[in-house]
Structure formats: structure tokens, C-alpha cells
Subunit: 142 residues, 2 copies
């Protein structure tokens, strides 16, 4: 059982990886402040990010370590890294090299709005429908 006071008020970096070995990483654009994506890091991805100053993640779908930009060239330079109170979430402010952080081709993964003030089924609204790059050309997939 970790010491909660040490985790919250101390200076020892002690990331609290979950049962799946991961912490949540929120990625914002250092200039605009927009949230670009939410990803996950295992211990290795986090160490590589800290050492290199470029963002590495762990893909839950592909079950592998990946460097952001390894396929697309859209590397994320980390301008600042923060950890939250209970050390199970990280905030990366990044300088994105390339037009988009999202595998769908958009600048941000959060390109759709959820309207408020209603009950029942909700219809989303696009806020960034246009693609910043062509994912088929960048990733070479159909």
C-alpha cells in the first residue's frame, strides 16, 4: 500500500501504473492549449519520453510500445510534463511536428461536440470535420 501523503505531497516521482501496467496520458498542444489526444504509457514508454523529450506511448489495441510519429512522421516534442496528485495520470504539453495528432487525419482526436441539456439519444456535431492530412497516404492503409 503506497503512502498517499508521499504520493500527493512528495517530490519522488512514483507513477502509479494500473493493473494493466499503464498510466493515462493527456496530450495538449503547448501553443493552443487544445486537448489533442488521450493515450496510455507503460513504464518503458514513460522512461523513453522523459529521456528523449519526445512522446512514446503504449498502444492497447496493438499491444505494443510506439513512438508517436514513427509511421506518420508527426513526432510530438514534449515542452512540459506534469503528473497529477495521485500520480496515475500525466499531462504532456507538446509541440506537434506535423498537421495532426489523430489517426483519422484530424489535428485533434476531439473533433466532435456532445450537445448538452438533453436526455436520451444524443447526436454529435462535427467541429473539425475536415482532415488535416490523408491517413491513407500517411499510414499506407486502405
Amino acid at each position: 500500500m503506497p503512502d498517499q501523503t508521499a504520493i500527493e505531497e512528495g517530490l519522488d516521482f512514483a507513477p502509479q501504473f494500473g493493473a494493466d501496467g499503464l498510466v493515462t496520458a493527456v496530450v495538449t498542444d503547448a501553443k493552443s492549449g487544445d486537448v489533442l489526444m488521450v493515450a496510455h504509457m507503460n513504464k518503458d514508454a514513460l522512461s523513453r519520453t522523459i529521456e528523449s523529450g519526445e512522446a512514446w506511448y503504449y498502444s492497447r489495441s496493438r499491444k505494443k510500445l510506439w513512438k508517436k510519429g514513427e509511421s506518420s512522421g508527426h513526432v510530438q516534442r514534449v515542452v512540459e510534463l506534469r503528473v497529477d496528485c495521485d500520480q496515475d495520470a500525466l499531462w504532456l504539453k507538446v509541440d506537434p511536428l506535423g498537421p495532426g495528432a489523430c489517426h483519422t487525419g484530424r489535428r485533434s482526436c476531439f473533433y466532435r461536440l456532445v450537445p448538452l441539456g438533453q436526455t436520451g439519444a444524443v447526436a454529435l456535431e462535427f467541429r473539425e470535420a475536415e482532415k488535416a492530412f490523408d491517413p491513407r497516404a500517411v499510414y499506407g492503409k486502405p
Copy 2:
């Protein structure tokens, strides 16, 4: 198996709750753009948030639904709600009523910096050491 194209490119809001019944919620200050906290929502918390325009979450530690501010009075008015490409993460831009989002008394949960460019043990640096409110007074706990 959900249809990935419908999830990513469609207008049907179909949040992809994990095996634990939760989606990740990133909360930013609508004015400053700073990330205030990372929380989680179950279906009920999400419905209440959409209906009321005020943030509800699910506490993994206390295993219960909670309305942000129910103890502290620091309600979060949701200015805008977004969903990400694969619909397993939400971004809430909020207008926080009250001085702080963090249970430790800080404005943001991300009050410590992780320095980059090093290997081995990492010493954190406070960026917001001072408390915006006294959690003992607000939560009535020692």
C-alpha cells in the same frame, strides 16, 4: 464488435465504456485551457452531466457516483463537451465555481513538473505548491 467507421466518423454518440464500465474524462479550465483533473464517468454520471450541464463523475476509490462540488461546493459548469475518435474519452471544458479542482486544495491536480532529459530516479518540482483552499476546512476531514 462495434463498427469502427461508425464510431469514428458517425454522428451517433456511442460511448465505449471499458470493462470497468468507465470512460476517461479530461477536464480543462475553459478560460485558461489548463488541465484541471482527469476523472472517470460511468453511464449514469455521463447522462447526468449531459442533462444538467454540471459535471458528475464516478469515483473508483469510493466506488460511487459523485457530483463535483457536492462536498466542496466547487461545482463545475460544463461549457463544452467533446468526445474523441474512438469514443472512449471525453473532454470537458468547464467553468469551475470555486478556487480549486483538486482534493489536495490546488487549482489543478497537475501541480508538479516531471523534469525531462534524464534517466533513473526523477525528482518532481512543484509548480503550484500553495493551496487555493484548505481541504480540511472544505471536506471536514483531518
